[in-house]
């Protein structure tokens, strides 16, 4: 579904990312973890054409319009109501009104936003705003979903609930997902494979860990799985070794 080969990204000066290779087969849920500033978000920005790479290639097996990007911030239009925000992408793609209306109502209902359609983002809680952003992206039926720490700002309960709902949706629709996150437990709970990015500048992928927990999953119960603890330990070691390496470099 997504093929990243020899990708280097920079903002002037040393490249932030260097020679990144990443394969994401259709239907796989992958996570990309790494230290702060290692360039995780930059990978997603290159895939969505928001950033031009220094070198390397990004190839998609689907048109770029089938890629959904859930930002770290809600990035909702403050002057548009919840309904209008969910409808935004549908309008841009000229989806017929009747079909768009049905899709919007479906997502408002599915995301527990019934009765909130005429509210503005400023009148919603953080969790509700995140649901609207999710509805905005999923209403377009993406085949590849990119997520940049989308639930980082939410409290633990809301975060777990939304992650669970998202996982169920991903399984049902066989979505391919690339999640960028700081949260190791979230990465294990949701992913089939976890890519560990090294410290920048010139960060590369240092390790890949398959997650041997069967799907479908319950976010809370994955923590009880016998492989969860050891994998968490390995990821922790990868990242702390990276941090130590970075301190030595300085």
């Amino acid at each position: 579904m997504l093929h990243v080969r020899g990708l280097s990204v920079g903002y002037g000066g040393d490249p932030v990312l260097e020679n990144i290779d990443l394969e994401l087969p259709a239907g796989q849920f992958a996570s990309l973890i790494g230290p702060s500033g290692s360039g995780k978000t930059s990978v997603l920005r290159v895939v969505t054409n928001l950033l031009r790479p220094l070198s390397g290639s990004v190839t998609l097996d689907v048109p770029v319009r089938d890629v959904g990007f859930l930002f770290q911030d809600d990035a909702l239009l403050p002057w548009r109501t919840v309904r209008e925000n969910v409808a935004l992408g549908l309008g841009i793609r000229h989806v017929p009104n009747a079909e768009a209306d049905a899709t919007i109502e479906y997502w408002l209902n599915r995301l527990g936003l019934d009765g909130y359609g005429d509210r503005y983002p400023a009148q919603l809680s953080g969790g509700q705003r995140k649901r609207v952003a999710l509805g905005q992206v999923l209403a377009l039926k993406p085949k590849l979903l990119l997520m940049d720490e989308p639930f980082a700002s939410l409290d633990a309960i809301v975060r777990t609930r939304i992650t669970q709902e998202l996982l169920e949706w991903v399984d049902r629709e066989h979505l391919t997902v690339l999640l960028v996150t700081h949260d190791l437990e979230e990465a294990i709970s949701a992913s089939d494979v976890i890519h560990v990015l090294g410290h920048g500048p010139r960060a590369t992928i240092r390790a890949r860990h398959p997650v041997e927990i069967p799907r479908p999953r319950d976010v809370l119960e994955t923590r009880q799985h016998p492989t969860f603890g050891p994998l968490l330990r390995r990821l922790w070691d990868d990242l702390t070794m990276e941090d130590a390496g970075s301190v030595m470099k300085r």
């Binding site: 990035a75 909702l76 809680s125 377009l140």
Partner: protein, 256 residues
């Protein structure tokens, strides 16, 4: 229980009435010279006469027409030039220094020049009101677009939006916020342009009446006209505020 807002309004009302009573008393007891500061009752009488004998209305109408026309043309020019400069960098290079210069000077000094160029009729007042408003709105739009939230721009781009979508969904609403923030000032500027233009040279308008009152040392008429202008501008401010609340209703909702 009286709300805080009502209590403030009540206190202000009482203070205003107290001021009028003190002023009136001082005038009646001869402490204040009526040549310089006539009693409020005299000023009120002048205002009543102006309205009752119909003399006020054509002048108020002339000023209002010049101010509104200047406001509309200034808004149009300011928005158009602001958008053009923000979206076309070469145009910004040419326009920005001119606007900065016009913004730095007291633009009412252009009034005599407009009278020479355009005569003492409506055109010179319209020109002055327009230039006052245009510069203000230009910067509101120019800065509004430059400081637009880039996350929203990227959101639209990842949803497949074109440049036209960006303008419609992000730039225009974002700029509306900035323009409405300057709208009340623009209304004041438009009125200033019209009145100052009439004050410099004209045959009608509130500025013309003011000029007449000043040349005849008629303090009561001068104060009456100042109050009328203030009342009219306050009325327009109230209208602007309603418009702002309507256009920016998303901002005035209660947070969750």
């Amino acid at each position: 229980m009286i709300s805080t807002r009502r209590a403030v309004a009540l206190r202000r009302g009482v203070a205003f009435i107290a001021l009028l009573v003190v002023w009136e008393s001082l005038s009646r007891f001869g402490v204040l010279d009526p040549f310089y500061l006539p009693a409020p009752s005299v000023v009120g009488q002048v205002m009543f006469m102006l309205a009752a004998d119909g003399e006020l209305w054509p002048h108020l109408g002339a000023t209002a027409v010049a101010a509104f026309a200047g406001l509309l043309v200034g808004l149009g020019l300011g928005i158009g030039l602001g958008f053009a400069a923000a979206l076309v960098p070469t145009l910004a290079e040419l326009l920005e220094p001119v606007m900065i210069l016009l913004n730095a000077i007291p633009r009412v000094i252009l009034a005599p020049l407009f009278v020479i160029w355009l005569g003492i009729g409506l055109a010179s007042k319209l020109a002055l009101a327009t230039i006052l408003v245009t510069v203000l709105i230009f910067f509101a739009v120019f800065n509004g677009i430059k400081e637009v939230d880039q996350r929203l721009v990227e959101r639209i781009r990842t949803l497949g939006g074109t440049r036209r979508t960006l303008i419609r969904e992000v730039y225009v609403p974002s700029v509306t916020t900035w323009v409405m923030g300057s709208f009340k000032v623009a209304v004041g500027f438009a009125f200033t342009g019209a009145v100052v233009g009439e004050f410099v040279a004209s045959s009608r308008g509130l500025g013309y009446l003011l000029q007449f009152a000043q040349s005849t040392y008629n303090a009561a008429l001068t104060i009456a006209l100042i109050i009328i202008i203030m009342a009219f501008v306050l009325l327009l401010f109230a209208g602007s505020e309603r418009l702002e609340r309507r256009l920016l209703r998303w901002k005035f909702g209660h947070s969750a």
